[in-house]
């Protein structure tokens, strides 16, 4: 199987990459920049992509690394103490439960990237533990525990029964 062309890569993955970038950075303008940079780098590294089926995690990884370079300085600025968060005890309604994407973005922005990325990738569905672990250069066990803690945090934060659920600060962005 040959290496895919850059246009093939763009067609197949630009939308999910852009969505990932928005969720990661909280800004559509930054996300577009990151997406462009990702394909620019992908073009120079195309020979590294030996298995075309792995193109998606490969591209996501390039995007994440680019994001980390840009954010390096304020990475530790907002970290939520995840240990303090427990499972929600109340039962949520099973139907008609909607989450405002803006509220979700605000909740994500409060998380350190090391928790945010596994969370986003988990909800993007087509990533398995191995993909997330590879992208973050972490052991699978670490990914599993970060994911569990981050999900518990998000559930509490976004639960309609949570007292502060409606007093979120506005999403990130210029």
């Amino acid at each position: 199987m040959g290496t895919p062309s850059v246009r093939d890569l763009i067609d197949s993955h630009y939308e999910s990459l852009f969505r990932y970038a928005v969720r990661l950075s909280g800004s559509a303008a930054d996300a577009e920049d990151l997406t462009q940079e990702t394909f620019g780098k992908a073009l120079t590294r195309l020979p590294q992509l030996r298995d075309a089926d792995r193109a998606k995690p490969w591209l996501f990884r390039i995007l994440r690394n680019e994001y980390l370079h840009r954010k390096r300085d304020d990475r530790r600025a907002r970290v939520v103490p995840l240990d303090a968060v427990g499972e929600p005890t109340a039962t949520l309604p099973a139907d008609g439960f909607e989450i405002d994407p803006q509220e979700l973005q605000a909740a994500l922005a409060e998380l350190d990237e090391t928790f945010r990325t596994p969370l986003i990738l988990f909800y993007f569905e087509d990533f398995i533990y191995r993909d997330i672990a590879d992208q973050m250069e972490l052991p699978i066990g670490t990914v599993m525990s970060r994911l569990a803690r981050a999900k518990a945090y998000l559930r509490v934060k976004l639960s309609p029964l949570h007292p502060t659920a409606n007093s979120q600060r506005p999403p990130e962005g210029e």
């Binding site: 290496t3 850059v6 246009r7 763009i10 067609d11 630009y14 939308e15 852009f18 969505r19 969720r23 559509a28 577009e32 997406t35 462009q36 394909f39 620019g40 780098k41 073009l43 120079t44 590294r45 195309l46 020979p47 590294q48 992509l49 490969w58 990884r61 690394n65 980390l68 370079h69 390096r72 990475r75 530790r76 039962t91 949520l92 099973a94 139907d95 439960f97 909607e98 989450i99 994407p101 979700l104 090391t114 986003i120 988990f122 909800y123 993007f124 569905e125 990533f127 398995i128 533990y129 997330i132 973050m136 250069e137 972490l138 670490t142 569990a148 999900k151 559930r155 976004l158 639960s159």
Partner: protein
């Protein structure tokens, strides 16, 4: 299925679940309000997570970017096309032959050429930047600049040092460049804030120390230039 098992499976990325597990999980959540509520929360978060509008012109802008990156290589070919045209005219072989010469090259060809240009440009940019830092322009190993990712100051312990980063599919290599004795170097294995672990060694050359660190899963050789035939 017990609630314990159900909640364990709910926590797993959907792609990991075998179809049987998936079916059993669905059956359980249909009859258990607690697990149904957890599944509904996940579904709602998932829906919100991907609810991001994608700008309508983005694909075209990405296409344009990819094309202009290739144009650099194309320009170098233009000389050849002109020479081909001159030869055709001289030989009277006519327009058919001209259109053969003018036909776009295979993408792979152009990409290879462009890569080579990119490599040289990056190596030069790094060299100029190192010189501007008062350091020698060349690194002590034949690095593959196709993997060059970043150069600038990078954190090492509490210091910020000139650093060139190469990135491969399997990990990264950082080369810190400093005047020998300027900083006390870390020993043993170390990690960074992204959770990567590194092994490192130093090379001394003409009063300059190169601290080369590679992340787990790679070796220095991963980042070195191979013979053209191997690429």
């Amino acid at each position: 299925m017990t609630c314990n098992l159900s909640q364990l499976l709910l926590a797993v990325p959907p792609g990991e679940l075998a179809p049987d597990d998936r079916a059993a999980l669905d059956a359980h959540t249909r009859s258990c309000p607690t697990c149904a509520s957890l599944a509904a929360t996940d579904a709602a978060i998932r829906k919100a997570m991907i609810a991001v509008p994608v700008p309508s012109g983005l694909r075209d802008r990405l296409y344009a970017q990819a094309d202009s990156a290739r144009a650099a290589a194309w320009k170098r070919r233009a000389g050849w096309v002109a020479a081909g045209l001159a030869a055709c005219l001289a030989l009277g072989t006519g327009f058919g032959a001209w259109s053969y010469f003018a036909r776009p090259e295979l993408d792979a060809d152009r990409t290879t050429q462009w890569l080579e240009n990119e490599r040289m440009a990056r190596q030069q940019a790094v060299g100029e930047w190192l010189t501007a830092q008062g350091l020698p322009p060349d690194l002590p190993e034949p690095f593959e600049f196709g993997y060059h990712d970043f150069h600038g100051t990078g954190p090492l312990g509490s210091a910020e040092l000139p650093c060139v980063v190469f990135r491969h599919d399997r990990g990264q290599c950082r080369v810190y460049v400093l005047h020998s004795g300027a900083v006390r170097l870390p020993t043993g294995r170390w990690g960074d804030v992204t959770g990567s672990e590194f092994t490192h060694r130093t090379i001394e050359r003409n009063g300059v120390t190169y601290l080369i660190a590679v992340s787990t899963g790679t070796t220095l050789e991963t980042f070195l230039r191979r013979t053209p035939a191997a690429i």
